[in-house]
Symmetry: C2
Subunit: 415 residues, 2 copies
């Protein structure tokens, strides 16, 4: 894509009404636009990152046996009353709205209830289990405050998978597998080194759950590292005798390293909590009715994008990991090199690279370099007048700022 | 995908609470689930169709110079008050909700206001124009009644593009081009023969607009066909002397064919309506400020899926056009042919076909055939015990029900 065609513009200054680094940088660089606190529009560059993250997650979900669906924002009060999660005293961050006939509706913050209700039409026999529906869908939480940019949105994009199993044993196999699938996702997103599978409390339905916590000063949680090699941690809130005993751990808080961290995902054993509330049963091999055993597996996609920004930036701007960068290459044409740069652009696109091409002719070299560093695509190719006389170009690594001068002939092999 | 792994099930009977053919068939065949009147979840098969339609539209938008973004559901009252579209007396199908601090928010039914507001950060010079942002995004309309299935949703998926041009002349070029782009989309979706570019009124901002109307008994509109060859029509509501005069038409209502039709898209010249309301200006080549000239271009994606169903079904079920079918091939293994069918399935997948494989072993031939016709994938391959002794399989055309017996060796060439 040519920058002269890209409608989003970078800004000189960070927005004054944002305190989080992720929102400041993403707005300054033209990736997102703030509609309201905690409510952000994704501009072309931002949507490309969201799609890259989504596709990595989607592939892992499909490989794990997931079946993608798309559920609704609008929620039926009747279903949620059955699980006692409709009342604002039970769930304090609902957005509610009304039909013209005054019927109250909710905006979904999660989808256990409608999915269990739906499955009553599709699960009847043990032969129908296990199944793993998931969606990538926009969710809503009426947060009192929203100061963490896209890391804690009132409207946010989430991947939520739900498992429906015959019993606890079948569930546990999948639950354990998902721990590995999740770490594989965070590895692919460049967060593997800093992300810990974290023992946490399980809410009302199960004693424990696992969170996936990425170490960052921007985090709202605190974890204690139990095993650096196995990337295992425990949430500060759940560091108590009972938890340690249940996991067979013998630990001393004082000797452990603690870190601030961002919760980028979680997996829960839901057990019979929702299948009992909404009466989702199947007939087992003996012809007897049993409740379905459930789990849920969430990843906040917009939050992940925020976490990646918090961990991958410097004073010049964003530094995307290759896997989620909006483009593979940022190609910069300096003055009087337009024809030459055009040829390289065409050749790169022909070879299947995605390229952001700074083809502006009325812009100074300094502005182009600053914009490239701000936008943060990992590889920059700089076409300068002197170098092209020797058929050479510069490749600059965004992160290290290291510049290599190479011949154009070898360019395509080196990318 | 193997049917034994697909969680959605077909039903014997149509749902009793649906009056529209599209919702009845799509629920019966396991493509969608009704959450509330006008609010539907897309199950795996349904989401595949939605994605096929979206991708055809996305490609055409990108080719036309579009830049994809993703705006928000939650809407800021302050912006909409500037255009006088916040009040429920001005727009009668808003869904409204509130933040915890009681601030009123809306759920977006369209996005002119927030997009114009956003563009104040990105448009300043004539060099920034024209631009064509678009999104594929979930919208909300608080319809009093919702009886047309996914053709008139309270929550629905829409493609909305907006054009920002320097002046009316530049706008008109794109507006005319989009008429062709839209017809190209409807042609690709298999609706070309029945879809008419339709003269319609333009609302408060422009005298006329174009609708794209697909002839169907399920339609809520009536159009008069002006030119069958050029696929031009006029909406009954706008068939009057003034309109005819403005378009230089000399027509007699009595001699024209009228048809019931579904509005599957529309394009509007917005002019300065929103750029003036929200003060979106650019500096022209002479250094003077001018308002931006706008247009908008909508296609209801879930409505399109409904329209395709209304036009492509018979008493056995759905009959998808190839371009939007959830799978290329429905492969049916009859009893004692599992190994043979498995090999063909693997080979088809290897060759890049998407295949729904009915590998059920406890299901009768009749049920398999009925399900295949109900699900409506255009090509069925039937693996029967007798035929495979001669290395033959049957290919059945879903629409014509015609069956050809062919050798397995020639199968892959014939698909």
């Amino acid at each position: 894509m040519r920058i002269t065609k890209l409608f989003s513009k970078t800004r000189k200054d960070s927005p004054k009404d944002e305190t989080s680094k992720n929102a400041q940088l993403l707005i300054k660089s033209g990736y997102i636009h703030k509609e309201l606190a905690g409510v952000y529009t994704y501009l072309p560059l931002g949507l490309r990152v969201i799609n890259k993250i989504s596709n990595i997650i989607r592939e892992e979900m499909d490989n794990a046996g997931g079946q993608e669906i798309l559920m609704t924002v609008l929620q039926d009060k009747n279903i949620w009353e059955k699980s006692k999660r409709w009342d604002d005293n039970a769930v304090d961050d609902w957005f509610k709205t009304r039909l013209k006939n005054n019927t109250e509706l909710g905006l979904g913050f999660t989808h256990e209830e409608p999915l269990v209700n739906l499955m009553k039409n599709h699960i009847s026999s043990y032969k129908d289990l296990p199944i793993y529906p998931y969606q990538i869908q926009t969710k809503f939480r009426n947060e009192l405050r929203a100061k963490s940019g896209i890391m804690r949105g009132r409207e946010f994009l989430m991947k939520d998978m739900y498992s429906f199993s015959k019993n606890k044993e079948e569930h546990n196999l999948f639950y354990e597998k998902m721990k590995e699938v999740y770490m594989s996702i965070f590895n692919q997103l460049g967060l593997g080194d800093k992300t810990y599978t974290t023992i946490s409390s399980g809410g009302s339905f199960s004693k424990y759950s696992y969170e996936f916590q990425t170490v960052s000063d921007a985090g709202e949680d605190i974890i204690y590292i139990i095993d650096q090699e196995k990337k295992l941690a425990i949430n500060e809130d759940d560091f108590n005798e009972e938890t340690l005993k249940d996991f067979g751990l013998n630990l001393n808080k004082e000797t452990l390293r603690s870190e601030k961290s961002i919760e980028v995902g979680d997996i829960y054993s839901l057990g019979y909590r929702y299948s009992k509330a909404l009466n989702l049963k199947y007939t087992n091999e003996k012809g007897l009715d049993e409740f379905v055993y459930m789990g849920c597996y969430g990843i906040g996609i917009s939050r992940l994008m925020g976490a990646i920004v918090e961990l991958n930036s410097d004073d010049k701007g964003l530094v995307w990991p290759r896997e989620v960068s909006p483009f593979d290459i940022h190609l910069i044409s300096l003055s009087k090199t337009e024809d030459y740069a055009n040829k390289i652009y065409d050749e790169l696109v022909k070879r299947g690279f995605s390229v952001l091409f700074d083809d502006r002719q009325d812009t100074t070299t300094g502005v182009k370099f600053n914009d490239a560093d701000l936008i943060g695509i990992p590889k920059q190719i700089i076409i300068g007048e002197k170098r092209i006389k020797n058929n050479e170009v510069e490749i600059k690594d965004r992160k290290t700022q290291e510049i290599k001068i190479i011949s154009v002939d070898s360019l395509y092999d080196l990318l």
